[in-house]
């Protein structure tokens, strides 16, 4: 995203729900591909959107361990749902990508790297936890000794319309993680939806100069103090109703000390190593590489694909896999997220979005596993 802050703190503004379409038009006119939440296959997933009508108006998600469902909301809110199985990472760090192509002529091999498509994307409806997840992935893909080109290009061309949560999900624990529900930074515009019977509007905070420029093309009025206060109250409500919580005090040390705690074995009774958690997690970044040739053998390709540490050959070296037991793979995932990540990247790897709890077929809850291990000492 463009990072230039406006010269001064700008007052908040109001956009009426019916004027939201202008926001989409403004973004499209500036060459952004608009991506936002839609309802498909009974879930809220992120896809390209053209109109405000594509958004999940009036839908609300019910989430708990291993369960996800959409029900009708009493209001016509566009953003009453919280998070679904998709994360924004699939648009910055694609599921599949061609890394190189090789052509063989006789014994000579020519290698070429596909050009990077300078994609400009606008994400509509990014939650605070998701913004934190993006910042976490920035550390992985942009701040190491080697940078991922696709991620860098797409990040540069990104416009973020964030949304403050006014409703907490059944498995959310962003307050424990310090990642929400209010967005603090990393956005161009941030919306708080106020969907009342007589009025449906958004209180909008401007985050960057780019956000301010786009806003010029959207009908808006200055927000009254009472509107701003109402928005703050709604966000505080969400903060008070988190579905889960986790005690972060010294958690990396607790987990490191308990590497051989028999509790890990108990989780394995349930974990299927299906890897759903890694698919839906907004910070997981592991990948694998696949080399193929066409039938003639004249053209070869290397593609990078999302991978999961839960696969049995993830840690395979000659002779076998280092982590062959299911227990060791679950432990690796959870310890990476909560104990190793802080050492590697300076922050927790978890943002408290709760997706891993919701989308685990057997409802394994890492906040509970952390509690069990801590209490077993």
């Amino acid at each position: 995203m463009t990072s230039q802050k406006p010269d001064r703190v700008l007052p908040k503004v109001i956009i009426e729900r019916d004027d939201l379409q202008s926001l989409l038009e403004a973004l499209k006119s500036q060459g952004y591909q608009t991506i936002g939440p839609t309802v498909q296959n009974n879930a809220v997933v992120y896809d390209e959107i053209a109109q405000v009508d594509d958004l999940p108006a009036g839908w609300v998600d019910r989430q708990s361990g291993g369960k996800y469902g959409l029900t009708r909301h009493k209001k016509k809110s566009l953003f009453a749902y919280v998070v679904g199985p998709h994360t924004w990472k699939r648009f910055l760090y694609p599921v599949e990508k061609t890394l190189l192509e090789a052509r063989r002529e006789g014994r000579k091999i020519e290698i070429s790297i596909p050009n990077e498509d300078p994609l400009r994307q606008a994400f509509i409806g990014v939650r605070s936890c998701e913004l934190h997840a993006m910042a976490i992935q920035d550390k992985v893909f942009l701040q190491g000794p080697y940078v991922d080109n696709t991620y860098a290009t797409r990040r540069r061309g990104l416009f973020v319309v964030a949304v403050n949560c006014v409703r907490a999900g059944g498995t959310c624990f962003c307050t424990s993680m310090g990642t929400g529900p209010k967005v603090s930074s990393g956005f161009d515009l941030a919306l708080t939806e106020m969907a009342e019977d007589d009025r449906h509007y958004f209180v909008v905070e401007i985050g960057t100069a780019a956000g301010r420029d786009i806003l010029k093309r959207v009908p808006h009025t200055e927000a009254a103090g009472s509107d701003v206060d109402a928005a703050e109250r709604a966000i505080k409500q969400a903060a008070s109703r988190m579905g889960r919580e986790i005690d972060l005090t010294g958690l990396p040390e607790v987990l490191n000390r308990n590497f051989e705690n028999p509790e890990w074995e108990k989780v394995t009774g349930r974990c299927l190593t299906c890897g759903n958690c890694t698919l839906v997690c907004p910070t997981c970044f592991c990948s694998t590489v696949e080399d193929t040739t066409d039938l003639s053998g004249g053209n070869a390709q290397r593609r990078r694909k999302w991978d999961s540490c839960f696969t049995v050959d993830f840690s395979y070296i000659h002779g076998g896999s280092i982590r062959s037991s299911a227990m060791s793979r679950y432990r690796q995932w959870m310890m990476h997220k909560l104990a190793y990540w802080p050492e590697q990247f300076g922050t927790s790897g978890c943002v408290g979005c709760g997706r891993c709890i919701t989308w685990c077929p057997v409802g394994i809850d890492l906040t509970e596993e952390a509690r069990i291990i801590r209490n077993s000492e």
Binding site: S315, G319, G320, S321, I322
Partner: protein
């Protein structure tokens, strides 16, 4: 609560030992129980005990990444395991785990070493018995190394 001295007197390893010495030994001993799968000793740890196995089975093993744990030797009822308490630097060289529920008498190595320093007769008696143990381990290990059943490893 069984009397430890009695248990030790019944153990084959101490057959023929002077009851006075067994009493000294018992002074350093406690009853222990290990659940199936539980680690008894860990490689690199302080070798501060040795064990008389009363019932159950123990496997001495080492972890070879990435293959996993390799069993080196098993020990069962009537046998002892752990001789590193006698030899400096008194550190375990391998892991040992209970294969099934195992009851044993654990003898504190430091305590016993102290008693052996004070009572050389006790020390010599134990040294003789443990020398046999270590010799047996060495011979068995060499035989295992020779890979007597199959051909050589090379294809």
């Amino acid at each position: 609560m069984e009397n430890i001295e009695q248990l030790l007197m019944e153990h084959p390893f101490l057959a023929g030992m002077d009851p006075r010495m067994i009493k000294l030994l018992a002074g350093c001993a406690t009853n222990v129980v290990f659940k199936a799968g539980e680690f008894i000793i860990r490689e690199g740890g302080d070798a501060d005990k040795f064990f008389f196995i009363r019932s159950g089975k123990v496997v001495v093993e080492t972890y070879i990444p990435p293959k996993g744990a390799l069993a080196i030797r098993t020990r069962t009822a009537g046998e002892i395991f752990g001789w590193s308490w006698m030899v400096p630097p008194y550190k375990w060289h391998f892991d040992a785990r209970a294969v099934e529920l195992t009851r044993a008498v654990a003898v504190d190595g430091a305590c016993l070493r102290g008693k052996c320093e004070d009572d050389h007769d006790l020390g010599y008696e134990l040294m003789k018995r443990f020398a046999s143990v270590i010799a047996e381990r060495l011979e068995a290990t060499r035989l295992q190394l020779l890979d007597v059943y199959g051909g050589n490893a090379k294809k």
